[in-house]
Structures are given as structure tokens and as C-alpha cells.
Amino acid sequence: MDSAVQTINNLTIGFKSQKGKQISILKNISTTIKKGETVGIVGESGSGKSTLALAMMGYVKHGLYTISGECLFHSNNLLEMKNKDLENIRGRKIAMIPQNAGQSLTPNLKIGYQIDEALKLHTDLKKEERDKKISELLNKVRLPSPEIMAQRYPHELSGGQQQRVAVAMALAGNPELLLLDEPTTGLDVTTQAHVLELLNFIAKDTGTSMVYVSHDLGAIAQVSDRVIVMYSGEIVLDGPVRSILKNPIHPYTFGLLKSIPKLTSPGLPDSMSGSQPQPGTIKTGCSFYERCNLAEDKCKNNSPTLEYIDDLNTSVRCFKYKELINVKETNLDSVKSINNDVLQNEILDISKVSISYAKQKFIDQLLNKIDDSNPTVQDINININKGETLALVGESGSGKSTILKSIAGLLKTKDGMIKFDKDKVLSNDLKMRDPGFLRAIQLIFQNPDESLNPNHTVEEIVSQPLRLYFGLKGDELKQKIIEVLEKVRLGEFYLTRYPRQLSGGEKQRVAVARAFAAKPDIILCDEVTSALDVSVQAAVLNLLQELKEDFGTTYIFVSHDLAVVRAISDRVAVLYQGRLCEIGPSKNVYQLPSHPYTEVLLGAVLEPDPDVKPKLVAEDIVEEKPPEQGCSFQGRCPRILGDICKNEVPPWQIGENGNSIRCHIKVEDLKKQQNIN
């Protein structure tokens, strides 16, 4: 059991900068992966975790090279092996499950062929045996009708199915070591929980060692025996999963855990200041010095070494870890609760809104007619009060972003009406909207890389709404820009910067500043934190909350992450396939009894705690279209009653906590059923 599958000794990988300087991405990594062990490697983007995983297969990306050290598989150094020999190890002894299976499957080859290729390379099976094995593998990863699946092209599968194919492909060669590079990032919560459960099953079933690379501590907690925390290319903490997640003795891990919003403790998580240093910028001292609360002079000038602590079975790279050993785990929970001043003053009234993506036929276009009996989004009724934060939650395809775009005027509604400030009807057509309404409703997008013009400086980006809506010029404009930037904690220094010179968190702050510069009444936030690292996410959430308290702005907050929504919202609306399932005050929606879909979603949330397992109640089938009639959730509902759900749209019921549930099952019955489970 204790024999090592892979041993990494003093591995340093880096690149040559344009000035010919050698810059390291991985610094002096040493660790061992034992047989049958699952090791989680955690770190934020840029921490070097993916580079490390690739090095474990003897693969170094174009532009990078090995500066020193070795990666021993049993006793062969993969980094010095010839390609010919590596071909016999890759896929056969060590297999990789990639981050984005959709992009990692060759688009012009059928699923069956791609698995067969691995079998042909790594086994001696004959054609018929291989065909049988393909079905077996697809069956093992729980894909329906394997024979048909094998004949499909990658793009014909859903994200979750593609990820399962990647797992099947990796298992084809019966590897001793499986490397998983963010295998569930980008999947829906329920799909993610199912894939993780599958991986756990495979680890037990085959006895394969696994290295699970992720930024998501929730996922890591579910699968790992041991966790390695990486920061800026170094291992800062390495130990058993429970001790790492329940009593993190490195200040970075401590801060990281504190900045994750949790379902169990409402309110905003604490944020860590700053961001991870760029490779090559740290010359002396601890790489976490700038962001550390415990830092002292010693940390600035001396680099701590990785120190093994016997009674915790943990290695830590910190001078001051002793101060954290006795911190009780309850202190990890976030503390700051939100307290919004919600006025009983309706600011937005969405009534009976339907939106259709169906393409108009040419003749219908002439007649200005939309013919779609089953629109993407249907019958949405929501009122939003001034100063409130309303969250729209749902998986991909639930229509949450679609609704947001309609409010902003980017998408035309098919039916229904959106009223602003009680009685002003917002026009369906963006061009017909009053400029005042355009100013009043601002949008912040998911990905600041794409929403900020790369050829504009921060000054130009923030000046646009100020010039457009308030006609500011010259010194007055500049004063105002600086004022707005200071509000989002970016100083004058940033005026001349281009987006590419900013970190992810800074870019999103600029996007927030641009939205607030218009002095809007409502800000629409479309997955604003999902492209950010955990520690940065907490900072942006806190910033949004502070700005809201200062300006009394109303937020409509779209997210797939239930924990983030729990942290920031007053009221939550749960959507499935473009139809509302449940709406009510957050603390009540997150409690049972709730709509069966809400229950499924809540069950699938991964907490960064190895002792809290997700509850998988429903299958993770992907539905392409909402059902023609009846309840939108009928296809996946674990509590389906029968024909009534298939034929009749369920009625709204008021739950005992003031949340409205749209279900055929009586609230009392839901309560009984959900309490039993």
C-alpha cells in the first residue's frame, strides 16, 4: 500500500523572459504519490498546479523547460525520457482527464474511435474484444446506450457526457495513476456532484492512484485523502485532508477557506487583500508576505522552508504556523452578515414575461410575428423593491441570463411587460428606450476580459458613462473618474493602465466602476464572480455590498453558485428551463420544505468539508428544451406525482416561511417527504 507510484524531487520548471532572465513557475517541488492514494492539489490560477500535473506525465508546455529536478515514475525520470518511451507510459501507466473535455476531444473523430485508439495503443485486444471493451467502459462511466454513444461525435454530447467520455478514455489503458486537471470546472452543480461520485467509485473500484488538481476546495474535499496547497509555484501546505481543511496551519489556506461562502453560514465571507504575485516578481522572503496578516520582518527577508510537523503529519511553509495550530474550526466561518435597507418601494416589475430564441421565418419577419408556443423563458413574474438584492439561480440553460438581457434591453421579449419605477414601461427595443432608463439600468458581465475594450485605458473605460449620461468634460471629468475609481479601491495610478495590465480582480473592479459611474438605480450582475479566483471573489462580493450600502442600489444577481447567492442576496428566485420554480427570502428558500428542484440543487452543493457529502437525488439528464406542457421539472423530478405533473402547469403555493413554491405537491406533503430523507 505504501509503495510510491510517483516521486517528484526538487522540481523547478520555468521560462526565459525576453531579457533572457530565468523565471520559475514551479519552485523546488518535492512530493510522493503513493499507490491507491488520491491527492488533491489546490491553488488559484497561476499557482503552477496544472504545470505540475503535466510534468507528472513528462509533458512540459511549449515555451517552458525543466530547470532542475526530476519526476520519477517508479524509478524512471519522465522528464528525461525519449518520446518513444513516453508513448508507452502515457495513457497506459499514467492517464490524464483534462479540464475541458469539450475541447480535449478531437472534433472530427467519433467517441468510439477515440476510445478505440487508446485501446489499440495500450492493450493487445482484437477488434471484437475492443468493441466490447468500449461498450464496457462507456457503461462504467454510466453513459446511456453505449453502442449509440460510440457512434457520436464529441459535439453531439452534453458537457457532463463529454467529461464521462474523457474518464472512459483515461481508463482504457488501465492506468496506475490518473491525473485530473479541474475535471468538474465548468459543469453544472448537479453534474459536478455526479462526476465526482463516479470518480470516487472508480478510485475504490480500480485502486488507481489519483492526483486531483482544482481551485475548488469543495470538490477537493469530496475526493482527496491528502491535500497539497500551492501558492506562487511553491507547496505551502501538504497533509491529510481533514487536518488541512479543518485546521489549516498556513495563513494562505486559512484565508482561502475563510473567503469561501458557505451554505451553512449566511453572510459575506472575509476577503484576502491583494492577489498572487506574478512569476519572477518575488526575489526574497515569503511569497505570501504581501497578503499575510501574521507577517513580520523576518518573513520579508527570509524564505521559509517546508517543515514537517510530526503530530499533524503535515508539512507547512511558514514561520508562524504555530499561531494557527490552536485556532478552532468555528472561527473559519464567515461572520459579516448583510443588512440591506429594503424600502417597500417597487422599482422593477416584471410581469408575465416570455422570451423566445426561435428564429423567425422570413414571412413571419415581414409580418412582425413570432410563432413559438414553447418559448425559452415563459411566464416570469417578479417584483423588485428598491435597495433589494434579488438573485436568479439555476443551472446552465435555466434562462437566468436571458431574463437579465431582456431587462437590459439586449433581447426582445415575446410577451409581457417590464415596468420601471412603478409605472414607466420599458420599451422592448433598446433604440426606443429613454436614455434616462438606459442610465438607470447597468450591466456587469461575467468575464471582464471580454467586457472591457482591450484598446482603451481604464480612464477611457470609466469616462464613457460619465460623458454619455452627464456630459462631463476636462478636469471635472477627470476628478469624477478618480473619485469613482477610488470607490472601487483603485487609485489614480490605474488611469493610464490597459485591461491586459490588470489582474482578474482589478479588471472586474474596473467593470464595477464603469457600472457605478452611471449612478444607476439597478445593476444587473451576470455571474460576476464566476471567472474569479476564490479569494478575489470574496473581495468583489464585499465591494459590491459596500457600494450598495453607500448608494442604495438595487441588484439583480445571476449566479449558478448557490453559496455565493446565499451570501449576498435578500431574495432568491430559482429557475428551471426558463420557468420559475420557487421564489422567496433567501433564508427561507435555503430551508426545507422547498421545490423539488431547489432540493436537488442544494443537495449537490459541495462544501469544503470532507465530512459533508452531497446528496444526489435526481439524475443529471440534460434537457434541450422545456417540456411542451405541464411542470418544467417533470423530466428530472424525484418526487413526480404522475400525469398531473405532465399535463398541468403547477399552481403557486405559499410555503410556511413566506416563500412561494410552484409544485403540485402540497407544501405539507413536501415537508413530510423532505424531512424523512
Binding site: 508513448e87 495513457g91 497506459r92 475541447q103 472534433p107 461525435y153
Partner: protein
């Protein structure tokens, strides 16, 4: 799928219709007409009237367009001015000659371009790439009339290996043509090959950097299997359209090169009939060149559609 093909063909015909309208009205708008050109200084009075009568130019423009278009649809372009010959008889051998020249350039150019593109991409930033890329960029920048002249100077005059100009009758057979077209083919295919090679190179490099190629490597797929199974099919797909554009562009190159080498093809006919103001021939040529352009692009689109499983299934679903 079939519907889509039909739609594309219909669109092609609409394009041709518009081209015919533009050329026809262009000829109409120009000062002077066929009769003034033909009669030159005697273009006045009764002689001019008689000429109009004979050529039918005194009928309104739209009537002439309709009768001309009806003729073109039946493959009859009418009569040329200068020789009073049927245009079909003038065009026939010229089209054949140009086709020989163009297809020879394509048959030689495309395989070389693919090969060079793939080599430069696979040996990116290494010696083969540096050498080939320098040459291709160099030959891309020289216009064909210069490279053609240089070829004549070096190969025909200094080395005396090949004839410098083509002296064959217009109706020569293919076997008579072949030895004469070596230099024109080289001149034409140089730029085209260089353009295509660059395109193929960047496309292959892009695919080589993709996640699925990295995955194939990590799966243990041997290098050349990876190149042929995972890289090339995906890299060459987007190249098809660019190749089509390059071929269509080659038509223009053919015009210049044919004049330099005195080659009896369509290109020389274009120049000749424009300088003779032989308007019916110019019209006919415009339509022919436009149809070649449209059909090449159509073929390329259909090929991309056939070969790309993603587009194919998308169409079937609809």
C-alpha cells in the same frame, strides 16, 4: 442538407444575375457604343443609323438586355464586333487554353503549398521553417509580372532552357501546349503557393496548440499518427475556403501572366477585347469569369460542409 445546397446554388445564380446587370449597364453608361467604335470617324448620319439598325441598338436597353440574357442562358453570347465571329467560337479554344494553364498551376501549387505549410508548422521556429518561410514571404511580395519577366530573363534568355514566349496557334492541342506552359505555370503558382502555404502553416500551428492535440499526446498517441489523425483533418478544413479564394484570385494572375508570355488564353482576350472596345466579348468574359468565381466558392463551401461533422449534423438537426 439538400435544401441548403439548393439555397447556395440559387444564391450563386442571383450573384451572376447582378453581375450581368452591372456589366451590361456599365457598357451602356460608357460614352460611345459599339457602332461609334466600329465606324470610327464615319460614325454620323445615315451610316450610324444603318449600323444601329443592323446591330439592333435602336431598341430600348432593357429589351436588348433580355434578349442578350436569354442568349447567354442558352450558351449563346452573340457575335463579336471586330471579326463578326460568333463569340462562342472565339471563346471555346481560349477557355480551354486558360483552363490548361490554371489547372496545371493548381495541380502543382496546392500539393506543394500543403507540404510546405505542414513542414513549416511542424518544425516551427526551426531551420526548415525559417528557410521556407523566408522564401514564401519573399515570393509573396513579388508581383507576377516581375517574376514572369525575371523568369524569362534567366531561364529563357540567359540559360536558354525554355522558350520565353508562347508561339502556338490558339487552337493548339494540349500536347502542343504543355512544353510551352512551364514558365507561365511557375510564375502563376509562385504567389498562390506562398499564400496558401502561409495559411496552412498558421492553421496547423493553431490546431497543434489545441487542447485535443495535447490530450492526444498525453494519451500516448505516436507523433505521426497524431499529426495525420488529430491535426491535419482539423487544420485543413478551414484552409479549404482560403484555397478557393486563392484559386479565384489566380484568375486575375492569369490575365497578367498570359499577356507577359503571349499565351493565347482568356486573360489575353480580356486585354485585347477591352483595347478593341469589343463590348460583346467583354460582357461575355465578365459573365464567364464571374461564374467561375461563384462556382469555385460554391464547391469550397459544399466541401467544408461535407467534411465537417459538426456542420453536417447541425444541418441534419434543422
Amino acid at each position: 442538407m439538400l435544401l441548403l445546397v439548393l439555397k447556395r446554388i440559387l444564391l450563386g445564380f442571383i450573384t451572376l444575375f447582378i453581375v450581368s446587370l452591372i456589366t451590361f449597364s456599365g457598357v451602356e453608361v460608357l460614352p460611345g457604343d459599339a457602332c461609334t467604335t466600329y465606324l470610327e470617324r464615319e460614325a454620323y448620319g445615315a451610316a450610324l443609323e444603318a449600323c444601329y439598325e443592323r446591330l439592333g441598338l435602336n431598341t430600348p436597353a432593357y429589351e436588348r438586355y433580355i434578349s442578350w440574357a436569354a442568349g447567354v442562358l442558352q450558351g449563346d453570347f452573340g457575335y463579336s464586333l471586330s471579326g463578326e465571329m460568333r463569340i462562342n467560337d472565339v471563346l471555346g479554344p481560349r477557355v480551354k487554353n486558360s483552363m490548361v494553364l490554371a489547372s496545371a498551376s493548381i495541380l502543382i501549387g496546392i500539393p506543394i503549398a500543403l507540404l510546405l505549410g505542414i513542414i513549416t508548422a511542424l518544425w516551427r521556429d526551426k531551420l526548415p521553417d525559417i528557410i521556407i518561410s523566408t522564401i514564401t514571404i519573399f515570393s509573396m511580395t513579388i508581383p507576377e509580372f516581375i517574376s514572369a519577366t525575371l523568369l524569362i530573363l534567366i531561364v529563357a534568355i540567359w540559360l536558354e532552357w525554355l522558350p520565353g514566349i508562347v508561339i502556338v496557334p490558339t487552337g493548339a492541342s494540349i500536347s502542343e501546349l504543355l512544353p510551352n506552359i512551364i514558365l507561365p505555370v511557375i510564375a502563376i503558382s509562385m504567389i498562390m503557393t506562398a499564400h496558401m502555404a502561409r495559411m496552412v502553416r498558421s492553421s496547423v500551428i493553431q490546431v497543434m496548440a489545441s487542447d485535443y492535440v495535447q490530450m492526444a499526446i498525453l494519451k500516448g498517441v505516436p507523433y505521426w499518427t497524431m499529426v495525420f489523425k488529430h491535426v491535419l483533418p482539423n487544420a485543413l478544413l478551414p484552409a479549404i475556403n482560403v484555397v478557393a479564394l486563392t484559386i479565384a484570385w489566380l484568375l486575375g494572375g492569369v490575365v497578367v501572366t498570359e499577356v507577359v508570355f503571349n499565351y493565347p488564353g482568356l486573360g489575353r482576350l480580356v486585354i485585347e477585347s477591352i483595347s478593341n472596345r469589343d463590348l460583346p466579348v467583354v460582357q461575355a468574359l465578365a459573365i464567364i469569369l464571374a461564374s467561375i468565381y461563384v462556382s469555385i466558392n460554391l464547391i469550397a463551401d459544399l466541401m467544408t460542409l461535407m467534411l465537417n461533422p459538426r456542420l453536417k449534423s447541425l444541418q441534419i438537426k434543422k
